[in-house]
């Protein structure tokens, strides 16, 4: 997508999220990261286990109080936002879909009450009849039917439960959805159904997604742009084609080389690139630098020429 004229809906700058601050076991889960997300796009966040993906998502949706930094949504600072109408609007505009469709639905609630939770909290239904109609519409939107409304979560398959989770998120007409590994727990064939549904809803409702996953092929497929996270730092950001086809950072290269491809011939000749985290030691000040148009790499001043050289070798237009 063309990002130049698009509007920034989310601006994260110098976000730090530390846990157990000052204690022996302090964890710098997110350590000074900055990125923007544009209206209507899908921003994919990838990185290995423990890199801080979930923490980023939870900080953005205000489940944590960040250690420092700024998170602006629609131009409004989110950090430190007080309870009140603004907060209420924010809670509607931004929704989250979780990894585990089993754990994230209350087993004792009927599907219609799960889906209508946000409608009730925000008083979005005029009366009972309107509420039922909205629920029926939402279920239809995600490919379930009206009869499903009075059943309980355990009566559904994993893919269907994830659809219920999506219907619940859509109920309050959000603008922005954070999807944290929404398909990891699902079967391959069902994954495709859920991803197709998410794409279709995005087109119809102009939704913006932050899509977190460790399945790199799926992230590439669904995302317009991608950020690579490692040890709580953003190492590379660019359009998904750019990052996958012309990875500049050694970590990104190593990560991509580890992705298993459903092609035996390719697998027989694949060589994995080892990674030496020397470009991440704390000895230098590093920040995201735009090496090629819209393609950023975390680099220290004296590392920039090396990345420019790499980019040139790959035939990129170097800035």
């Amino acid at each position: 997508m063309e990002t130049k004229n698009a509007k920034k809906v989310l601006e994260v700058s110098h976000l730090k999220q530390y846990f157990n601050v000052g204690k022996k076991d302090e964890v710098r889960a997110v350590d000074d990261i900055s990125f923007d997300i544009y209206e209507g796009e899908t921003f994919g966040l990838v990185g290995e286990s423990g890199s801080g993906k979930t923490t980023v998502g939870r900080a953005i949706i205000h489940l944590y109080t960040p250690t420092s930094g700024s998170i602006k949504f629609d131009g409004q600072e989110v950090i430190g936002m007080k309870r009140g109408p603004k907060m209420k609007q924010f809670r509607r505009d931004m929704q989250m879909i979780f990894q585990d469709p089993y754990a994230s639905l209350n087993p004792r609630m009927k599907v219609k009450d799960i889906v209508a939770e946000g409608i009730d909290i925000n008083h979005l239904a005029k009366n009972d009849e309107d509420r039922s109609k909205q629920v029926a519409d939402l279920l239809a939107t995600v490919g379930l039917n009206r009869d499903h409304a009075s059943r309980y979560p355990h009566e559904f398959s994993g893919g269907q439960r994830q659809r219920i989770g999506i219907a619940r998120a859509l109920a309050v007409q959000p603008k922005f959805i954070i999807a944290d590994e929404p398909i990891s727990a699902l079967d391959v064939s069902i994954q495709a159904q859920v991803v197709n549904l998410m794409k279709q809803l995005q087109r119809e409702r102009n939704l913006t997604y932050l899509f977190i996953a460790h399945d790199l092929s799926m992230v590439k497929y669904i995302s317009d742009r991608i950020g690579v996270l490692h040890y709580g730092r953003m190492l590379e950001v660019g359009s998904s084609d750019e990052v996958y086809n012309h990875p500049l950072h050694d970590y990104t290269r190593s990560l991509l080389s580890a992705v298993p491809v459903p092609d035996p011939e390719y697998e027989r000749t694949r060589t994995q690139i080892e990674y030496d985290p020397k470009y991440e030691d704390g000895s230098k000040d590093r920040e995201l630098v735009e090496i090629a148009p819209h393609h950023f790499v975390q680099a220290a001043q004296d590392e920039i020429p090396m990345y420019q050289e790499r980019a040139k070798k790959m035939g990129l237009e170097v800035l």
Binding site: E48, S49, S157, G158, G159, Q160, D187, V188, S189, I190, Q191, A192, Q193, V195, N196, K199, H214, L216, S217, M218, K220, Y221, Y244, S254, L255, L256, A258, V259, P260, V261, P262, D263, P264, E265, Y266, E267, R270, Q272, Y275
Partner: protein
């Protein structure tokens, strides 16, 4: 490495589960064999019967399971008829298993060196000192750094990837003939997964174990398997060499499975997906169980179950589409592309062979 000697045969296996709702027909006539030194991958969606199949090989079926038919031959004996004692010996020494979640297969209260050594002591009667020495060797073999100092650590002191290495060490300490790996890397991220898969390949070469590898990640299958069996609703619907399944699949379910997984090259607005959900095994449908979700289904699919049709000596598929009288259909785009790639590979191969021959002949002259 691979050979043609078959060390395990599963014949017409049928397993039911008694439940309150009725009888779940989980495994409905499954047959396959495992060759010495090969990796056989079993793929198929959730609930298709992968785990139940392998658990019956280990003699580890749930209490409500009923063997409704078939046998499992291992060294001239039917595993399904073995006594508890025989089964314990089998599991400790000849067939080992790795599960998805390393934490559930490790004892959190036992030092890892001891856990690795235990199968040796219990099943092979090896003395403690010697067993611990072998455990240390095994720890090094599976790539646990600083093994000498870590041998007395507890499982929680290791990362997920390291724990899975420990599980592998326990499974392999007795040099089992068969290793069953049920989603061994699903809980790990790609980097760690790649390390564990490399390790499994390397160890397989060293001790020539046969591996049954269960996973739903077709990328992993492509890199690990010699042969692949595709399961659907309690049956194997297609099997063949890894190349035959990935480049020349014949069953529409295999087509759907391969197409619904994006590769790094996949673009476009919609991923091909298999519509609907798997059938209810309390009451499996008549005919081909995949028919209701199959856009290529023929009328006969709803009436009669398809038998296996032979594609090659190593490749069989149970679909009426392979019947000589069946109408010709065009497979999904991605499958056609795969077939094209296969044809090209084969052509290259024959050309290389011809080239080789010519060179050899020239050399001889």
């Amino acid at each position: 490495m691979e050979s043609n000697e078959s060390i395990l045969q599963v014949n017409h296996l049928k397993i039911n589960f008694n439940t309150y709702a009725g009888t779940v027909k989980a495994i409905r006539d499954v047959s396959f064999d495992l060759k010495k030194g090969e990796t056989l991958a079993i793929v198929g969606e959730s609930g298709s019967g992968k785990t139940v199949t392998t658990r019956s090989i280990m003699g580890l079926l749930a209490n409500n399971a009923v063997v409704a038919g078939g046998d499992i031959q291992f060294h001239g004996k039917d595993v399904l008829k073995m006594s508890q004692r025989e089964l314990e010996q089998l599991r400790g020494a000849e067939i080992a298993q790795i599960f998805q979640d390393p934490m559930t297969s490790l004892d959190p209260t036992m030092r890892i060196g001891r856990q690795i050594a235990e199968p040796l002591m219990v099943h092979k009667g090896v003395k403690k000192d010697k067993a611990m020495a072998q455990a240390l060797e095994m720890m090094k073999l599976v790539g646990i750094t600083d093994a000498e100092n870590r041998i007395n650590d507890y499982p929680h002191q290791f990362s997920g990837g390291m724990r899975q290495r420990i599980v592998i060490a326990i499974a392999l300490i007795n040099y089992p003939e068969i290793l069953i790996a049920d989603e061994p890397t699903t809980a790990l991220d790609v980097t760690i997964q790649a390390q564990i898969l490399d390790l499994m390949r390397e160890l397989q070469n060293k001790i020539s174990t046969s591996i049954i590898f269960i996973t739903h990640d077709l990328g992993v299958v492509a890199g690990m398997a010699d042969r692949v069996a595709v399961m659907y609703a309690g049956k194997i619907v297609e099997y063949g060499t890894v190349d035959e399944i990935f480049y020349n699949p014949k069953h529409p379910y295999t087509w759907g499975l391969l197409s619904s997984m994006p590769t790094l090259e996949t673009n476009g607005d919609e991923l091909p997906s298999i519509p609907g959900t798997p059938p209810d095994l309390l009451d499996p449908p008549k005919g081909d169980a995949f028919a209701p979700r199959n856009s290529y289904a023929l009328k006969i699919d709803t009436q009669r179950e398809p038998p296996f049709f032979k594609v090659s000596d190593t490749h069989y598929a149970a679909t009426w589409l392979l019947h000589p009288d069946a109408p010709k259909v065009t497979p999904p785009e991605q499958i056609i592309a795969r077939q094209a790639k296969f044809a090209k590979m084969q052509q290259q191969l024959t050309e290389e062979e011809r080239h080789h021959k010519v060179e050899e002949e020239e050399e001889q002259q």
